[in-house]
Symmetry: C3
Subunit: 221 residues, 3 copies
Amino acid sequence: MIDLQRDGDVYVLRFDAGENRFSPDFLGAVEGALDSVAKNDGPGALVTVGTGKFYSNGLDLDWLGANQDRFGEYLGRVHGLYARLLELPMPTVAALNGHAFAGGGMLALAHDFAVMRTDRGYFCLPEVDLGMSFTPGMNALIAGRLPKATAHEAMLTGRRYAAEQAREAGIVQRTAAEGDVLPAAVEQAAAMAGRNGAAVAKIRTDLYRPVLDALHGPALP
Amino acid sequence: MIDLQRDGDVYVLRFDAGENRFSPDFLGAVEGALDSVAKNDGPGALVTVGTGKFYSNGLDLDWLGANQDRFGEYLGRVHGLYARLLELPMPTVAALNGHAFAGGGMLALAHDFAVMRTDRGYFCLPEVDLGMSFTPGMNALIAGRLPKATAHEAMLTGRRYAAEQAREAGIVQRTAAEGDVLPAAVEQAAAMAGRNGAAVAKIRTDLYRPVLDALHGPALP
Amino acid sequence: MIDLQRDGDVYVLRFDAGENRFSPDFLGAVEGALDSVAKNDGPGALVTVGTGKFYSNGLDLDWLGANQDRFGEYLGRVHGLYARLLELPMPTVAALNGHAFAGGGMLALAHDFAVMRTDRGYFCLPEVDLGMSFTPGMNALIAGRLPKATAHEAMLTGRRYAAEQAREAGIVQRTAAEGDVLPAAVEQAAAMAGRNGAAVAKIRTDLYRPVLDALHGPALP
């Protein structure tokens, strides 16, 4: 379901569950991996990557349909995952090998930087087209991490951004051909791995305090 | 004073009162039109446009000069107009056929997107040159909708932005020749008209909650 | 240590103390100069500039090392300096003749605009590389004045921005050759000197109210 390897100073966390939707098992596996990574001492950085044509498609709507009474609890756990990344005491880079949709796109935004594959794959927040809206935590995460005009367009139109469009809109910082996405992300992460982890976490959590307050607050309004 | 037509799924609200300053009668007419538009069921989107060389020059200073005791009440009504647009359950596009000054520029910012005429007309917040400042609601609207550097420059220098400058500064998203401004805005609105109106309103009001709180709060500090 | 001259309507405040670190004496001299400038009546604008290869390197770490018991008081005074600039009743321009590091970089951000020297000198927030973080006031100032992506990169990676990089990142608005930095800043300031000072201060303090609240709040969490 996931795979955690270390490449020099860089932890590479691979999501390997098809569309990488956030099933409870998937969340548990990722939480466990982040627990392990957070114990790192000395230089370190994290790269996450998916498999095939998906980075992550976000919420597990099948599971949710069968467990509607656990909606709030489930959303709280997803919020917790985003918060864990913002609080991680090391630099983080998302290697977007493929689609980053909805909650999966927000997962990418919870990283410090993102590299996106050029030949296929979209970043998309399709909620508006599904007649859905965003939780307070998700709203705060998107608004806190994207330029205002991009947050507005992405949230209100559900636009699909290909790699170069995503870079121009400030959603990702770099683009790369399919085979170069992970190496580029690892290279960027390695260059930052020497940073003081405690300082990284303190600076990042101070900068995103309102986002973290929303993510740790009530999952539903 | 105003004219409301429907072009396919798109409501076209034309301001037709010279400089389109916000006299009480003008505000009443626009409020009535938005009441009508808000009752839309099914696909829908709104375009607003002015006439001749003016989109809108904002506050009606002549009326205000004669009714200074009603300043707070009047500002509250202007704030309410901006809030109504942010709360409207459909996508909105401003077709800037001409000058959008002061409160008229802010009216443009209360729309989802704006198209601006290239050959003449400016976006300008001239308050600083008039020795005036911004109400809490106006300050929140401008700061909430413009890139930080643009809000700073526009508010503190009173710069007049021609169309291409306004696009580069993130004030408008598209520019067009005089005869193409309204068609371009209608085309963009039509492309978004199928969005779920309730979702649009919920996402937008969540995203701009602090702006709406300021607009609905005391009109004067 | 400092020198205050008037060039037409423009006050030119030169920092002339080597690295221009914020020793108590330096702070006292700058505070006195700003007191004098703030009494201006009629047209006016302020330019600050350093000497040689330094604009300012920020906190006086030598003095702090010998006066650790006065850390909070000292930081409060530095915060006060930033606040004074944001509150100054006239337009302000920083002429970055050289390095603007850490607290010195933040000093530049407290001005309305900045012009940066092209051939040498960096803007840099090196705190993360020193294992340090930012005070609540400094965090608010940086986040309030820089585009989100730039604040994130500058604070979390300690990147050194040369002039053109700083312009692209939205840290400065203009760049100039060494001999043109001060003239360009004075020219820009002079063009804005006719603005109503009270309106400038009111608009600016309203726009940056959350930043000022943080700067005037507790210096340490």
